[in-house]
């Protein structure tokens, strides 16, 4: 089991992802990545899918990576790390490598929910020992904020704009965390960067899961979500407080709520209305119109029913 590590201890750990990257001010992606990479003291090797995080961290001849890192394409980061891990197993068996290395993959929601889904499913089924982290900002940000399978109903993006007839995205996002859990893998969880302790604990479990692990992390994007870049962490917190993004984990067959979500379930914390979440971001701005009020209501109803289902799974 992982132990809770104090901020002081964490701050003394080597920085694995360093300054000089070109992500937007207020982007949650580097915050999440740095915290997760602190969760193990073992050497790590990283694979990265194409997306904001990748392009901004490796502009040749510069790199923000202090650890071995590989990017090859958009849809295959899980396959790439599968090959890396296969090489590791083979070379270790032959005595050519002695270190105990951990493998981690970062992909955006586009890379994870959509185009790279097959590669992730395959890698988990094969049982490679790696942790896949989805930096979920609910759209294809790198190419200019297009809709993905993770985009919320009602959110506007450049391919599902809020028009006079259609109020942004028509569909609810797919519940990828549950789809991944259906693979019956050793460890999967949802996390948020506002609760670094929770996220680091989950990461530590993922690193030591002795098999595939999956972490889906909500990753506010000031550009795409249309919010002030100072509000990133606040908005991530709101996602959890409204139960739009519950914090939970699935560990060897057991579902467990964590952090604020656990406290909401236990009644020691209030569940905020989804309207607070919608109001916080420009991408939902059009939903305040009377005409589209029913969309906001549907989102609330959907959040409620999914929350009830999660409470049942977590035996609350």
């Amino acid at each position: 089991m992982s132990t809770v590590t104090s901020l002081k201890v964490l701050s003394e750990r080597e920085d694995r992802y360093v300054e000089g990257h070109r992500l937007c001010a207020g982007c949650a992606e580097p915050i999440i990545a740095r915290q997760i990479l602190m969760a193990t003291e073992k050497p790590v090797v990283v694979s990265n899918a194409t997306g904001c995080f990748e392009v901004s961290s490796s502009i040749y001849p510069f790199t923000s990576w202090n650890v071995p890192w590989i990017h090859s394409a958009f849809e295959n980061a899980a396959a790439t790390i599968s090959g890396v891990e296969a090489a590791y197993l083979s070379l270790k068996r032959q005595g050519k490598i002695t270190e105990d290395i951990r493998f981690i993959t970062f992909g955006g929601d586009g890379a994870t929910y959509d185009i790279g889904f097959q590669a992730i499913s395959g890698a988990i089924e094969r049982g490679h020992r790696f942790m896949y982290v989805c930096l979920n900002n609910e759209a294809y940000m790198n190419t200019g904020i297009q809709r993905s399978g993770a985009t919320s109903r009602g959110a506007q993006t450049t391919t599902c704009p809020a028009g006079t007839c259609i109020p942004g995205k028509r569909e609810f996002p797919k519940d990828l965390t549950k789809i991944i859990i259906a693979h019956d893998l050793p460890y999967a969880a949802q996390a948020s960067p506002h609760n670094y302790k929770d996220m680091i604990e989950k990461s530590a479990k993922g690193f030591e899961a002795n098999g595939p692990a999956f972490l889906n992390v909500i990753s506010p994007c000031p550009r795409g979500w249309r919010h002030d870049s100072a509000k990133t962490i606040e908005i991530a917190k709101l996602a959890v407080e409204t139960c739009v993004w519950p914090l939970y984990e699935f560990e060897r067959g057991e579902w467990r709520l964590t952090g604020e979500s656990l406290r909401i379930a236990e009644g020691s914390r209030q569940k905020l209305p989804v309207s607070d979440w919608l109001k916080s971001q420009g991408r939902f701005g059009h939903l305040t119109k009377e005409k589209w009020k029913f969309v906001a209501d549907e989102i609330q109803a959907n959040v409620d029913s999914k929350w009830q289902e999660l409470l049942r799974l977590c035996k609350h």
Binding site: P43, V44, V45, S47, E54, V55, S58, I59, Y60, P61, T63, W65, N66, V67, P68, W69, I70, H71, S72, A73, E75, N76, A79, T80, I81, S82, G83, V84, E85, A86, A87, Y88, L89, S90, L91, R93, Q94, I97, E99, I101, Q118, A119, S121, G122, A123, E125, R126
Partner: protein
């Protein structure tokens, strides 16, 4: 060593068993399937150290090869047709990252309509991807090329992924007597895997696959172009070394009875073998004809080929693929190679055998007849009902 009977796919699996790559990641597709099945048996019996990964697609298979090769592992795979097409994006990334992955391609037609039989459309679709492309004629060559390919790909002056092509069914599924080399000879010939940087070197972290702006991309592409320029001398050296250990002599271009010939036909793959029989028959009739087997398609040995072809009266180029809307893909390369030659032969293109259509001896004789009597069009189709 004693000759044994095996098919073209089985001998590739055997070569891999002897080489014992660190990683093989592959996905089955006819007519490559026997390779991965036969290799799985070696793995199941503990005869190799290889970490063998059954990918969930060819796209992932090549992605895994990229990850493995970047990690300092000797890496091999095999595919065909739709599988190679599905890898297309990753082929460019493998070569762009200068990863010496070796891949057998059991040449098969591309859909649609879906067809499982031989033609070269799959490999031709990958001709610009920065891979070395070697074509073999028969089972023996499939085996020998599979061994030589590792030495070529991994040569420190090259570090280029290498494709060894063999004709689907015609070679992959034909039982032929061939001569394997002893395990120790293969191991010694191939040698240990070397690398400059490994992703798994956690003490010296390296960033693989960074983002290039307009300020570096062109230079990195030019470095690939430059590495390709060194392939021919390296391949010749490897073929020389191979001749020493095996007694089998290979060349990049192999002319047959060409010394005093007036007319010749150029082909890649198994048809180059059939051509030799036709040449013998026509020679017996007193015709001054020969043939040319082209073993290396990328890099294209333009100067070497021009030297051999110049002075001939007529040359036919056989293409087992078509660039719809143009000619066969091999034809313009040969034609362009001869542009500056002194005595340019008349050139004709014959597209044949698409989707595994048999090429008959009479058809090949017809090609020689058309060359001799200067008949036919610039681009011709053999054996198709118009």
């Amino acid at each position: 060593m004693e000759k044994v009977a095996m098919n073209g796919d089985q001998v590739i699996a055997l070569a891999w068993k002897q080489i014992d790559p660190d990683v093989v990641a592959a996905y089955p597709i006819t007519p490559q399937t026997i390779i991965v099945e036969a290799f799985s048996e070696y793995v199941a019996d503990g005869l190799v150290n290889t970490e063998y990964v059954c990918a969930e697609s060819e796209h992932s298979a090549m992605s895994m090869c990229i990850g493995a090769s970047a990690s300092g592992a000797r890496t091999a795979t095999a595919t065909a047709s739709a599988g190679l097409a599905f890898m297309w994006e990753m082929l460019y990334i493998a070569s762009g990252m200068r990863l010496p992955i070796v891949m057998a391609v059991a040449n098969r037609a591309l859909s649609g309509p879906i067809n499982i039989h031989c033609d070269h459309s799959d490999a031709m679709g990958a001709r610009d991807s920065g891979w070395i492309q070697i074509f073999g004629e028969n089972v023996q060559e499939a085996y020998d090329n599979s061994i030589m390919a590792f030495r070529i790909a991994e040569h420190m002056d090259l570090r280029l992924p290498t494709m060894t092509c063999l004709d689907g069914f015609i070679v992959t599924h034909s039982l032929e007597r061939f001569e394997p080399l002893p395990d120790e000879v293969v191991k010694k010939f191939v040698g240990p895997f070397k690398y400059k940087r490994s992703l798994l070197d956690v003490k010296n972290p390296t960033t693989f696959g960074p983002f290039d702006w307009t300020d570096f991309y062109f230079e990195h592409k030019y470095q690939q172009v430059d590495a390709m320029r060194h392939v021919i001398p390296v391949m010749e050296q490897v073929q020389d070394d191979f001749a020493k250990v095996s007694g089998r002599r290979y060349n990049i271009i192999e002319p047959y009875r060409l010394d005093d010939a007036d007319y010749a036909v150029v082909a890649m793959g198994s048809t180059a073998g059939t051509l030799k029989d036709i040449v013998d028959e026509l020679r017996a009739e007193g015709k001054k004809v020969g043939s040319i087997k082209l073993r290396l398609f990328r890099p294209f040995p333009a100067q070497e080929l021009a030297k051999i072809l110049q002075g001939l009266k007529g040359v036919a180029i056989l293409d087992r693929a078509v660039s719809i809307g143009a000619s066969g893909p091999l034809f313009p390369e040969v034609r362009s190679a001869l542009y500056d030659a002194k005595d340019r032969p008349k050139l004709k293109n014959y597209i044949y055998g698409l989707g595994g259509r048999d090429i008959k001896p009479e058809e090949l004789k017809h090609v020689y007849k058309q060359l001799i009597y200067n008949e036919g069009e610039l681009v011709n189709f053999l054996g198709v009902r118009a």
